[in-house]
Structures are given as C-alpha cells and as structure tokens.
Assembly symmetry: C2
Homo-oligomer: 293 residues x 2
C-alpha cells in the first residue's frame, strides 16, 4: 500500500499533495486522495479534518473550490480529501446514473454481492486512509480527527461520526462533524433509497439503523458536536433530497440542544460550492475548537 505522489502544490504556506495507492478496501483498485499539510506540520503531528465530497465529485472539488485551505493553514490543521467512490470496478450498470455507482459511493460498505468487493468507502475513509498515511510517516495525528462534507458527503460525515459513537469502535472517534446541505435522512429521499437498494442486500431496511443520520441521532445519548448549514434556495433541498428539518427534530427529541446540534438555514443560498465557500471559514473554525482543545 505504498503511496505514489501524483502532484504537489504549495498553498497558503503549506503543501497540497495528490496521492495514489492500491486500495485493499476498494478491492485492489487504484485510489486517489488529496492531503493538505499546513506549514506547522514540519514541527510535529497536526490534527486532521476529513472533507467528503458530494455526488459526481472527486478528490479535487473540495481542494479547488471549497476555500478550506486558507482556514486550515491559519488553524494549523491537515485536510484529507478522499474520492467519492471506487473507480473502474467494471460492475455492470455502475456508470449508468450520476447518482449511483461511480462518483456516488455514499461512504458505506456495500453488502450486495455485486458491490461488496469494491464499494467499501466507509472502511476506505475511516481505516485505510489513516493507515496508509501513518505508514508513510506523514505527520498527521489521527487521535485528533474531525469530519465534514457536502450533500452526499454531508451524509457521509454525519453517519461516520455518529457510527463511531454507536458501533463497537471500529475506528478512532471523530471529535466533531459538520455538513453543508447534507442528505440528512436518506431512507426518506430518492437519492438515499436508490443507493441503499443498490448497495445493501437488505435494501433500505438494512441501511436505516447505521446509515441514516436522522435515525442514528434519535438513539444517541452521548454529547455530540454537530454543525449543519443549508441554503433555502437549494433546489435539492426544495425537492426533499436533504431533509435537514427531520434531522433537527430527531436531535431535539433525543435531548440534543443547540450547543450540541446547530442547524442553520442560510437565506437564498443554493447547493453549489459558492454557498459552501461562504461558510467554509465557520466550519473549519468550528472543528478547530475541538481539534485543538
């Protein structure tokens, strides 16, 4: 699992590097990711924030358009940008739709026989990437990690964060989670239902307990640290793909107050990176509070 460097660009005093490696979690396929190391990483290990991108994206969208590097450099935090799915698994139908298969891995481990070998983005993100980065001697401190994401990646951030709290600890816990326009109740929306029917042998029913942030937050008693922003002009929000109100209601019903779970409607913003970059600074600073505590 040795890392190959594809490119490196200095940015905000730190270094953004694109890596490639043979991913066991993704069934032996090549996987790429970007890693931003702030300048202070030369003096010792730095905390880390994972960014999970949305449907159709790659490891590059967040680095190019998110506006996260400046804040991460200021705070002295590393950023990891995984891809959104395996690439080139060669499964029949994998490339037919923009919201399923390639570019749409949903940050889960598939159980359907067709997808189980390659579509294991949950393991890829939470276990494999930390392992290959540590093995390469890159100065990232995985005892201090948080996670955020956009749309499908917001779903990923919330469910991997909450999953680490509820499951037998398969991975080191994240200290905080945040999301831009997340798919917050996927068992109740078309994107999520399609993904879960395809990736899980037991379909939507199998997914509910551990892959739907709204279902998960309703059962969790631990203190949580969650920030969500969505735009009221977001067409996917209007179409009922995101359902942030469902997540908020479930959180409040389970006793999580405004300090633990903050959900902010942002007036007139859409689903784009122009929305996200506007609040990028808020999100990175939110995580910095916990990563540097």
């Amino acid at each position: 699992m040795s890392l190959e460097t594809l490119s490196a660009s200095k940015s905000f005093g730190g270094m953004l590097t694109k890596y490639k490696f043979k991913s066991a979690a993704l069934g032996g396929l090549d996987a790429q990711f970007n890693l931003f190391l702030p300048a202070n990483a030369s003096q010792g290990k730095v905390p880390v924030l994972f960014y999970l991108a949305g449907l159709t994206c790659t490891e590059d969208n967040g680095t190019q358009k998110g506006g996260f590097l400046r804040e991460a450099a200021d705070e002295g935090i590393a950023l990891i940008f995984p891809d959104t799915s395996p690439r080139g698994a060669g499964i029949e139908g994998e490339d037919d739709d923009w919201d399923f298969g390639t570019g749409a891995g949903f940050y889960l481990n598939a159980t359907h026989p067709k997808y189980a070998k390659h579509y294991n983005m949950a393991t890829h993100v939470t276990l494999e990437l930390p392992q290959v980065i540590e093995a390469a001697g890159i100065p990232v401190d995985f005892t201090r990690q948080s996670i955020f994401g956009h749309s499908m990646g917001g779903h990923g951030a919330l469910t991997l964060y909450l999953g680490a709290l509820t499951n037998s600890p398969k991975t080191k816990q994240f200290r905080s989670a945040s999301a831009f326009a997340p798919v917050a109740n996927p068992t109740k929306c078309p994107w999520g239902q399609k993904a879960f029917k395809g990736y899980f042998q037991g379909g939507v029913e199998e997914a509910a307990a551990n892959h739907d942030a709204t279902e998960m937050i309703s059962r969790i008693k631990d203190n949580v640290h969650i920030l969500i922003d969505y735009g009221t002009g977001d067409n996917f929000y209007k179409q009922g793909q995101l359902l942030p109100e469902n997540f908020l209601k479930a959180a409040r019903d389970a006793g999580h107050d405004e300090v633990q779970v903050r959900v902010r409607p942002q007036d007139g913003y859409d689903h784009s990176y122009y929305f996200m970059s506007t609040f990028a600074s808020d999100h990175v600073h939110f995580h910095a509070n916990f990563l540097k505590a």
Copy 2:
C-alpha cells in the same frame, strides 16, 4: 446586446451571475462572462475589478478557484470575469493548439485578416463589457475600475492598464493593475511570439510597442500602481515564458520605484490556482486601496 442570465448563485452575501450576449466586438458570436456584485451594491454603484484568466481557461476558473469573492465581498467591490477568447469563430486551425486561438485570445485586437473579425478581446473587455453592463442597469461604477489577471491574463491586465495610460484614451483608465505569474515580456517568450505572429499582420514587431508590458513600462513616465507575484517553483517561469525580472528591470530603469511597481518572488509556489488563492487577499486589498480612495 441584451444580457441573458444563465445562472446566479448567492455567495458571501453577494450574487455571482453568469451572463450571455451577442458580442459585436467578437464578430457577433455569443460571449459569456461572470459578474460578482457584493451586498452593498443594493445601496448604490460599486467599484469594479476585472479578472483576466490564463491560457485554456474560461470565465469560470477565477470564480471557482481564485478565492477572490470573499475579499471582494468584504471590500464591497464588484468583480468581472470575462472569457479568454471568442468561442466558435470557425477559423481554420483555431482549435489546434492549447496556447493559441480558442482559450488563448491574449486580450488584444487582432489585425491579421484571419483573426481580425473575431479576436478583439481588448475591445470586448475594456469597452463592450462596461457598455452592456451599464446598459443593463447593473450598479457598477466604471469610473472606479482596476484590473488583474493570471499568466496570459496577467499580460492582459498589465498591457490594458498601461495601454490606457499611453494611448489616446479609448477607455476609462484603470486605477491599478496586478498580476499572478504574468507573461510579462511576451515578445521575448514562445507563448507571446506565437500569439503575436498569429494575431498581427505585422507579427511580433507590430505587437512590441502596445502589447508587451516590459516594452510599455520602459516608456511610461506617469505614476503607476502595479503589484506582481510569481512562484519560484513555477515551471513556466523556469522555462522563460514569464520573464518578470525583465519587467522589473525596465520599470526601475524608467524610474518607477518600489511604491509604484512591486514584483514579489514567492518561494516554492507553482503556476496553479493554489498559488493564486494564497495571495488573492493581498491583490484584492491592493486594488481596494485605489478603488476606494
């Protein structure tokens, strides 16, 4: 020349809008550009900063990757992002190379008969865009305008700024110019020589006086306000495509001191938007000093 709105996204409290119109300057072809209006534009006309992108780019690269919107919103300045060439002129050979023709208009008015009808990006940027924007009643104050750009667009920013100082005033002057990794002495580098040979009937010789920033600065006695950043790790710099030292020497020889012309080598940075976004804040604030004076 009525404007058609293609899309609009709220960002940093302002609005980024993509427009299309039939461009007379570009021989009747459809032209697209992006315009960012900060929130304060609802209270009256705001000053404006043009961003000219580099080879192969469109009107979208700067908006998505430059990191300029945040600063412009803070300063209350509009941003205009033109395209880099006409599109679809149908000239033989126009799409053969990445550094000439489509995506590579070099912000000049061509005199070669093959290109003279369509390749008039200088007029398009300095006269036509202000005209269509004012005609549409968009609250931009073109008596307060500055210009910046990247690579070929840095060449464009410097030459259009200096051209407005030296020529009979065909356009309202720009108050300041800045550039990231500009093609600063195009008559002496392969990119510039190729462009000038192609676009001008008189070739490189015809271009020298009014389309080479280094030649131009050597003749100018007016006070100028110019900021240039380039990365020492930039491969195009190393290959001699940019030649910022030539520009600096010509400026100093002509009596322009550090206050008038600042050229900053940035250690280890490359030619990418990761370099540019690092210094985006410096550049927008530099222009704000003059635009808001």
